[in-house]
Amino acid sequence: MIDDSRFIRCHTCEAVNYDNIEEELLCRRCKCQIHQPLYISYHKTWAYLITAIILYIPANLYPILITKKFGIEKASTILGGIIHLWEAGSYPIALIILVASVFVPLLKFIFILYLLISTKYNLHSSKVDKHKLFYITEAIGPWSMIDVFVVIILSVLIHFSGVQIFPGVGATAFALMVFFTMLSALSFDTKLIKKEDI
């Protein structure tokens, strides 16, 4: 029987490699870096995560969508838009937007925070579960972009001389927020799960 913990999977080419904990490691097949020294990956993940959390604030406070009707501007934030949709009776869409642009980013923050803290302080939980959690975090990442794309599409279609819709500051902040959470998830090293202390 071969010991599982001595092997690591290369993210780039999926090859099975011998693991060595301390140093940086190059894949035997694609010669790509499998992991940097662990503390770099750990701090990088924190840095991206904090950037994303900071950007989450303007993304929710500033209007994501501005409607201009015959010269009168009306701004709406993400939550305002969802409430408006709910009141108008389009429940499915309100739910989609609520899940994609409020819950998914929050869930990602919580997951990455949990992974970082639990690996740092060596909380006793299943490693397989942590790997699954990381996999889910990576998979749900891009879906929060829905809201930004919807705003872009609406701003193209509703572009008449009398009525116009255009993206506000919130859209930029939101797009950047998604970008940084994805970077944060990508820079998290699954090796951190395996290794007990940094």
């Binding site: 035997r28 010669k31 869409i93 699954k132 809201d147």
Partner: protein, 212 residues
């Protein structure tokens, strides 16, 4: 210590990180993870040819999707159409540069790069030439795969359409169907293609001198 050849007989589940030893399968057979039941690999002798055909079709329909109108709306006689060109026009007009650049990369450049580099990888492996390019492209592919957001763009399109449904008459353009077709083909390609096998094929052809 095991040699590289022996290490190639192992595979690690991408979801739960369990080490498995590969077992020989019959044609068309699938291997699932013993712990979490995730699909790991399958045996398909025609993987290369099948993927190549799908990728070429996907590339053609992608270029159609990017050229023509996606949808046209009609509000009381005023009509507006959505195509890639009009999209960037409007974004530039509103000075949304950051969002515009992100959109350009996520839904135009990355899907196109992904499909075209898949095409070149499969083609070069098929004719067994240009080993260096195969390696570079395979590495590139694994990096840009996370950033392809064409499917999310399509879902957003549907959401936007439902929002506009009450006020406007919506007509579908050619690109809408092409976009749908591209997504289906892309899904089929990603299900069909196996990067582990591609890397092994690359190693078999250029096994000795791959240190460049």
């Amino acid at each position: 210590m095991l040699t590289d050849k022996e290490l190639d007989n192992f595979i690690i589940c991408k979801k739960c990180n369990t080490l498995h030893k590969k077992i020989p399968l019959h044609q068309g057979g699938k291997a699932l993870c013993s712990k979490c039941n995730t699909f790991i690999y399958k045996r398909d002798n025609n993987m290369l040819e099948k993927s190549l055909a799908l990728v070429v079709t996907a590339l053609i329909s992608l270029s159609v999707a990017f050229t023509f109108t996606i949808i046209t709306i009609n509000i009381n006689g005023l009509s507006k159409s959505l195509s890639l060109l009009s999209l960037f026009d409007v974004l530039l007009e509103h000075h949304q540069y950051i969002v515009g650049i992100m959109f350009l990369f996520l839904t135009v450049l990355f899907p196109f790069m992904m499909l075209s580099s898949m095409f070149f990888v499969l083609f070069f492996i098929k004719i067994e030439k240009y080993g260096y390019a195969i390696k570079r492209l395979l590495i590139l592919l694994s990096h840009i795969q996370h950033w392809n957001m064409l499917d999310i763009f399509f879902i957003s399109l549907l959401v936007a359409m439902v929002k506009l449904f009450d006020y406007a008459k919506i007509e579908f353009g050619v690109s809408f169907l092409a976009l749908l077709l591209t997504l289906i083909l892309e899904l089929m390609v990603t299900k069909n293609i196996n990067f582990d096998t591609l890397w092994q094929k690359y190693n078999n052809i250029y096994g000795e001198d791959n240190d460049r």
